[in-house]
């Protein structure tokens, strides 16, 4: 955490990365995640004016207000953060975009936009604060609620197949797929750091218990349950800079993946046979962890080779928003030329 007066590379204290005071429930997993975002932003020395925070609607989607108070934020519409993020990042690809959504926001109303954002590989961190319910509307089941779950606020038992957002992301072509737990601060932090440095859409599906509506005994999204059933697939640490490009992909006990910015994701394997660079393995893993009492966390899949939307759109280095009038308005001659195309 660091002492209160400790400063980062920018000479800022962690407090300088404060947002507004949280209005979420005391103990809500979302608060912890907001804190971890603040923490890693400070640790990585992210310039706040270069960060944009985006969200939809929900308790989770409120959380961007509670970190990085000097960053621009956009609290969009329910389920529509992906499109707004796509627009913003396209307009200015020099920004560091952090999206925060909920399981209802992403898995229910937002399913279409979520899938298509990932298809485009818009470079951003996409955090889902996943609690299996609609917190803000008081506890209805969301699409990630496990089958057979009981919830009195939702009026009974959920009989529908849950949506697995990591599974959804990976088959849509996501190159950075992770699951975590708001109670595992270290893992959340390291995944966030890697995600911020990953070039492409980095999904982190974080189980984030709703203490008010879904933390009861038997809830597969409760603190107790996740603590009991969480299997950490790999121990991740992010090493921000590496003076020389000298990476050993030491297979075996650990794996290092170099990100395009120079940072390195170092993974100590807990399951020896698992390699998160192998998409088929990742998919099989996810398939094998479909039961509520099988929760796998860690970096599930990583692939640095996907073209991002910025690359696909072939955007100029200068972000579109910084182009000058001369770049934006063709000349009089161009108009004359264009008019000639209309003439026989």
């Amino acid at each position: 955490m660091g002492r209160r007066d400790q400063v980062n590379v920018l000479g800022l204290t962690k407090k300088d990365y404060d947002g507004a005071p949280s209005t979420l429930c005391v103990g809500c997993g979302h608060n912890s995640i907001a804190n971890q975002i603040q923490q890693i932003a400070w640790e990585l020395g992210l310039p706040q004016h270069q960060v944009i925070k985006l969200s939809g609607i929900g308790c989770s989607s409120k959380s961007p207000a509670y970190f990085l108070g000097h960053s621009h934020g956009f609290n969009a519409l329910h389920g529509r953060m992906p499109s707004v993020a796509t627009g913003a990042v396209t307009a200015n690809h020099s920004l560091i975009a952090i999206g925060v959504s909920g399981d209802g926001d992403t898995g229910s109303i937002g399913m279409g936009q979520f899938k298509h954002l990932i298809r485009r590989n818009v470079p951003m961190v996409y955090v889902v604060e996943n609690n299996g319910v609609y917190g803000l509307t008081k506890g209805q089941f969301s699409a990630t609620a496990d089958q057979g779950q009981f919830n009195k606020y939702a009026g009974g038992i959920n009989e529908l197949t849950p949506i697995d957002l990591c599974f959804e992301a990976i088959i849509s072509g996501c190159g950075f797929v992770a699951r975590s737990f708001s109670g595992d601060k270290h893992q959340v932090q390291e995944l966030l750091k890697a995600a911020v440095n990953y070039d492409g859409t980095a999904l982190i599906d974080i189980i984030s218990p709703c203490v008010t509506f879904n933390d009861h005994e038997g809830s597969s999204k409760s603190y107790a349950w996740v603590q009991e059933y969480n299997e950490v697939i790999n121990d991740i640490s992010f090493i921000p800079e590496q003076p020389e490009i000298m990476v050993n992909y030491q297979e075996g006990e650990s794996i290092s993946v170099k990100l395009h910015d120079g940072g390195i994701v170092h993974l100590t394997k807990l399951d020896k046979s698992y390699d998160p660079r192998d998409r088929e393995a990742a998919i099989t893993l996810l398939e094998r962890y479909q039961d509520p009492d099988k929760i796998v966390t860690g970096l599930i899949y990583i692939n640095e080779d996907k073209k991002t939307s910025t690359q696909i759109l072939d955007l100029p280095e200068t972000p579109l928003v910084h182009l000058a009038q001369s770049d934006l308005r063709p000349s009089r001659e161009a108009l004359a030329d264009a008019l000639n195309t209309f003439r026989m």
Binding site: A20, P47, Q48, H49, Q50, I52, L54, A65, G69, H70, S71, H72, G73, F74, N75, A76, L77, R80, P82, S83, V84, A85, T86, G87, A88, V89, T90, A91, N92, S94, L95, G112, Q113, K115, H116, R120, L313, D314, L315, P316, E317, T318, P319, L320, V321, L323, Q325, D327, L328, R329, P330, R332, A334, L335, D337, A338, L339, F342, R343, M344
Partner: protein, 610 residues
């Protein structure tokens, strides 16, 4: 019946006086048969001869087989509205032949294939037949091209009958076929062969003739679709993010935008200075535009009715969060999926108020390709100046048909980015608050993400907030904020494209209209004037309506609002603007999917004037 009878027959009634450059040609064909090129060749050849001409393409919502009618009007006086009735029918669709012929007035001309068995029993028509297969067999044309090229047969026939200049036809062909020599030659040969065949086989003369016009009113002008002009305008308006979802009749607007962007908008390093994103649907399209607008890009989308419905939530958010955006609505017939390939002005009211809660959007109404171009760029200035979504409402008729156009004017002012505060101006807390109305015009200052000052950031949101941009559920904050936004929108009235007024001496009555109705109104007013009825005419170009529109309304006992929808939507909006004249604002309106005609307007007008 001899073979000559079959090839050619005149009406039993004797022949009337010859009409030069003042009649209509209707080409009926099945969709997807490639007739569009032939039709364009005819219209362009006529235009080349200096004849004012316009084509209305009535195509089906299908790719192949359903009936299409392409109606070309020649008007030496330069009336380029749709006109009811056909004088010359090129009946190239077997399916609709009977009905198409049945609808003709006596003395009309029909040209149709000799290849078909059908006979036409009416004896009050000029009837000409052409042997397509026979003619085509004389050429060595690849099989897959055959059916398309076959449409050139009627071009030859029509050219012969009307004396259309074959050089003009060749020029037109060359334009349409992008100068591809081989294709031009081949098609030209077919036209020529058909022409020669007609000359050899037909002897009757029809009372219609196309003659080159010396002092042509279309001299120096060109033909253009509104959608193409709009796309060009956007490219010159500095659009940098385009997000869209395909929908007829809006798709070609984006197609044009992409073409012109590709041609004219590269940075010095050769990279595009724009991004075009095909979104997964219209919700996402406007979401992308709103996100880009917030980030500081000039962003636009284009859609039609169903897309407007789907954009309601984001439109309301853009309005309330005060984010610049440009949305083109190329209107087609609704409600619902309606008639995707027919024209309408049916979204006016819905779009003006788009979004739940109290909302009111700025809307622009271009009436010509030149105005599509102008609003194409100016809409961004307006959106950024007023920090709000701007809707540009055009329609299928203006968007997808070829209109005669003068040159587009180069933008007469630099990009207006509105009140964007740079980092230099924000040195300390309090230097910038997002929603404080510093200037008293309701338009507050904004910053863009990335602005390098710790005090530049604010939170954009669709929820209640106070003038400092902080979330608030307080009643006074809500009232203050929303009232200011309405003050801002209301304050735009006299700063948007102002109405264009055309007066006549002694006019006792006013006509108000907008958009693609323009040519029909011009013609209708002349027709009324010929009957001794003078009218003043105000063409509205934006909502909220300028004060001068209100003055115009007040200056008459009553006014007519002419529009292409069922409920008289613009009339309704104006009634709310000028309530004391509400019952003197009368509607001349219709919605049948076709552009309004002068005849309809005149007869309604006379009927209502009593």
């Amino acid at each position: 019946m001899t073979i000559t009878d079959v090839l050619e027959r005149g009406p039993a009634t004797g022949s009337p006086a010859v009409r030069v450059n003042d009649f209509s040609i209707n080409v009926a064909s099945p969709n997807g048969s490639g007739s569009q090129t032939s039709n364009m060749v005819i219209i362009r050849a006529l235009f080349q001869m200096g004849i004012p001409v316009v084509g209305k393409n009535l195509f089906p919502s299908n790719i192949q087989g359903l009936p299409t009618w392409y109606i070309i009007r020649l008007s030496k006086e330069g009336y380029l509205a749709r006109k009811e009735g056909t004088d010359i029918l090129a009946a190239w669709n077997q399916q609709t032949l009977a009905q198409d012929v049945a609808e003709l007035a006596p003395g009309s001309v029909v040209i149709y294939p000799l290849d078909w068995k059908q006979e036409i029993s009416r004896d009050d028509l000029y009837i000409y037949r052409m042997p397509i297969k026979e003619l085509m067999d004389t050429f060595d044309i690849p099989r897959e091209l055959k059916s398309r090229v076959a449409n050139m047969v009627y071009v030859g026939g029509v050219s012969y009958l009307l004396s259309i200049d074959l050089d003009a036809v060749e020029k037109a062909l060359s334009y349409e076929l992008h100068g591809k020599e081989k294709a031009v030659r081949l098609n030209k040969q077919v036209v020529q062969a058909a022409y020669d065949w007609a000359k050899a086989n037909w002897s009757t003369k029809i009372p219609y003739r196309a003659e080159p016009m010396e002092n042509s009113p279309v001299k120096g002008k060109f033909l253009a679709e509104g959608n193409a002009a709009a796309g060009l305008g956007a490219a010159f308006g500095g659009v940098s993010v385009v997000a869209w979802y395909p929908i007829t009749p809006s798709t070609s607007l984006i197609d044009a935008t992409r073409i012109f962007l590709k041609r004219y908008r590269h940075s010095s390093d050769g990279k595009p200075t724009y991004a075009v994103i095909q979104a997964e649907d219209e919700l996402a399209a406007l979401g992308i535009v709103v996100g880009a607008g917030w980030a500081g890009a000039r962003a636009m989308t284009s859609t039609s009715g169903p897309g407007i419905s789907l954009m309601a939530e984001f439109a309301g958010m853009g309005f309330f969060a005060e984010i610049p955006a440009v949305i083109w609505d190329v209107q087609r017939v609704g409600p619902s999926t309606g008639l995707p390939t027919r024209t309408s002005q049916g979204d006016v009211m819905f779009t003006h108020y788009l979004g739940h809660g109290d909302t009111k959007h700025i809307c622009l109404f271009p009436a010509s390709p030149a105005e599509c171009f102008r609003f194409g760029w100016e809409s961004f200035d307006i959106a950024e100046r007023f920090q709000t979504p701007v809707f540009v409402l055009t329609d299928l008729d203006l968007g997808m048909n070829y209109w005669t156009s003068e040159d587009f004017e180069y933008p007469d002012k630099p990009l207006d980015r509105g009140k964007v505060v740079p980092a230099e101006d924000i040195k300390k807390p309090g230097d910038f608050y997002r929603f404080v109305d510093v200037d008293g015009d309701g338009i507050t200052r904004r910053t863009l993400p990335g602005t390098d000052s710790p005090y530049a950031a604010y939170f954009a949101r669709g929820t209640g907030h106070n003038k400092y941009g902080v979330y608030s559920e307080r009643s006074d904050d809500w009232e203050e904020n929303l009232q200011r936004i309405f003050r801002k929108i209301d304050g735009s009235r006299d700063k948007l494209p102002q109405p264009v007024v055309s007066r006549m001496d002694g006019a006792q009555v006013g006509i108000i209209s907008y958009g693609s109705n323009e040519p029909a109104i011009v013609e209708a007013r002349d027709m009324l004037a010929a009957q001794g009825i003078s009218t003043d005419y105000l063409r509205l170009r934006a909502l909220p309506a300028a004060h001068s529109v209100h003055e115009f309304i007040r200056s008459f006992d009553h006014v007519y609002v002419v529009e292409n929808n069922l409920e008289g939507q613009m009339a309704q909006i104006l009634r709310l603007d000028v309530p004391e004249k509400a019952d003197r604002i009368l509607s001349i309106n219709k919605q049948d999917g076709l552009p309004l005609t002068a005849k309809f307007i005149v007869s309604k007008f006379l009927e209502m004037e009593g």
